[in-house]
Amino acid sequence: MRTSFAAFWRRNLALANLGIVTNLEYRFNFIIDAFIQPILTVGIEVLLWLAIFKTAEHAQIGGFNRESYLAYAVWAPFLGRITISWMYESMMAEEVASGSINTILSRPISFFEYYLSQMIGYKLITTLFSMMVPVAVSIYFKLPIFYERLPITLLLVTYYLVLVHIMSFLVSILGFYLTRVRSFTILKNLTLMLLSGELVPIDLMPKSLEKLFLFLPFSSGVYIPLAYLSGRGDFELLKTGFFNVTWAIAVLGLFSIIFWKRGVRQYTGTGA
């Protein structure tokens, strides 16, 4: 498929647009996704950390103070939600499993691109709205957040989304070989919750685990951007993050190309 650069952008902007419009269509859904859920999750995490510090015998835990953890508790679920793909992954898996992928295969666009742009468009719009929650809380509690670092942090997160999408793509490719792949999604996303640092700040882990987690690319989803944003980490750490995502995209991308080609070749559909 030969495509010019302009056509590529036109096509993908249209898809991003599709992602946005589809999700605004169901406003109740959207309000929950962009506001209610972030407020709930942030609320619970903040309360947990407040309770921890209330009964803690020191003013600092692991070298950081209360405000620093509150900042983590407020922003980690926010980043965690951006960087986890449940909806589009299950949609993709469903397309493969049900055979409706055929309609996309017969169009001059790749399955990968089709969903990547929709996902990013959709993430963009929800992020735009749901960011109000952590920003408001941070300002109110005067949390240590370097707002000028926000753009580059979000850039890393967006870059990381490509990796997330490649993983979703790999899971849905499994649908060529297996009839049910839901369990892979669950297992993967739960593991990522831990590896990305959404659940516990990675710097609280035992040293050896901390090293391992920082070596893996998944910490670039939550921990690294957040550490940089809140001043727990420096620019060096952020660079490591970009570097990690790059090699992971290269490796997993290669895998997905291979598996995709093999999968499509032996694809038989369910006869529906």
Binding site: I44, L47, T55, T179, L187
Partner: protein
């Protein structure tokens, strides 16, 4: 009585069918079990890591917190076995219109919608979490094992909170056609139950006990086990399921009356 026997025999048939369906996808089956263990581990790891840096959270130490977490996971595992798959499928049923077919069955619609799939892959979790509970209780210096009997009332109470909460959220999907995000709200809400109520203070805690009673899932049962018995908690645990189920039935009837099938 006759009715009860009829439903039991239907349930037996559901169980058989679920078993047949579950082992159809062997790899998925195995992965679901693994995923469940990862999930349990994350919940444990969170507190194990936190307690590396502090001795008390709320008013519980690590040993007591473990009792709480295993209890929460134990209740969760029962919920997962009995209902979760059905609730996951609920939105799809609404969207694709297969809800129509389910509603046309001459048995209680709430039963049909909540219980036709039983998750066989979660049965191991039930035993593991039960063992975890026993183990964590055995670590306590002077635990009175007779207290476990209170769980006969409190576990069903906790389950009723999860069941009614989730069912009510799903009903809402009927009103709004598309509501897949309700299940993510559910996950957030459910987190309320997975955190000890000690982290919530004052007003909020009262809400969690009486209004959105997620404290009943594990916090209250854990308090009954770990602390001197407070009888009002047990009384509340006995009354609560009746209140919740009655409210849920009303709400369900209302939602059905609003239902206009998706495919017309």
């Amino acid at each position: 009585m006759n009715n009860l026997l009829k439903y039991l025999s239907i349930y037996k048939a559901f169980f058989k069918a679920s078993f047949a369906a579950d082992i159809e996808y062997r790899l998925n089956f195995v992965f679901l079990i693994i995923a469940e263990f990862v999930w349990y581990s994350t919940q444990l790891i969170l507190f194990e890591v936190l307690y590396r840096h502090t001795n008390v959270i709320g008013d519980w130490n690590l040993q007591q917190m473990r009792v709480f977490i295993f209890l929460a996971l134990f209740v969760d595992s029962i919920y997962m076995i009995l209902w979760d798959q059905n609730f996951l499928a609920f939105n799809d049923n609404v969207r694709k219109g297969t809800l129509d077919l389910l509603l046309m069955k001459p048995i209680d619609s709430m039963f049909m919608l909540s219980s036709q799939r039983i998750s066989i892959s979660h049965i191991p979790c039930f035993f593991i979490t039960a063992a975890g509970c026993i183990w964590s209780l055995a670590q306590l210096p002077d635990f009175n094992w007779l207290k476990l009997l209170w769980l006969i009332f409190l576990v069903p109470a906790g389950l009723s909170v999860i069941f009614c909460g989730r069912f009510a959220l799903n009903c809402t999907a009927i009103l709004f056609t598309r509501a897949d995000f309700l299940q993510y709200v559910w996950f957030s809400l459910f987190r309320l139950g997975l955190r000890p109520d000690a982290i919530y203070s004052g007003f909020l805690r009262i809400i969690l006990i009486f209004v959105v009673p997620f404290a009943m899932v594990a916090s209250i049962p854990a308090r009954i086990l770990l602390e001197p018995t407070q009888y009002w908690m047990i009384a509340w645990g006995i009354v609560l399921p009746f209140i919740l189920v009655t409210l849920l039935k009303k709400y369900w009837r209302y939602c059905l009356s609003q239902y206009s099938s998706a495919s017309s």
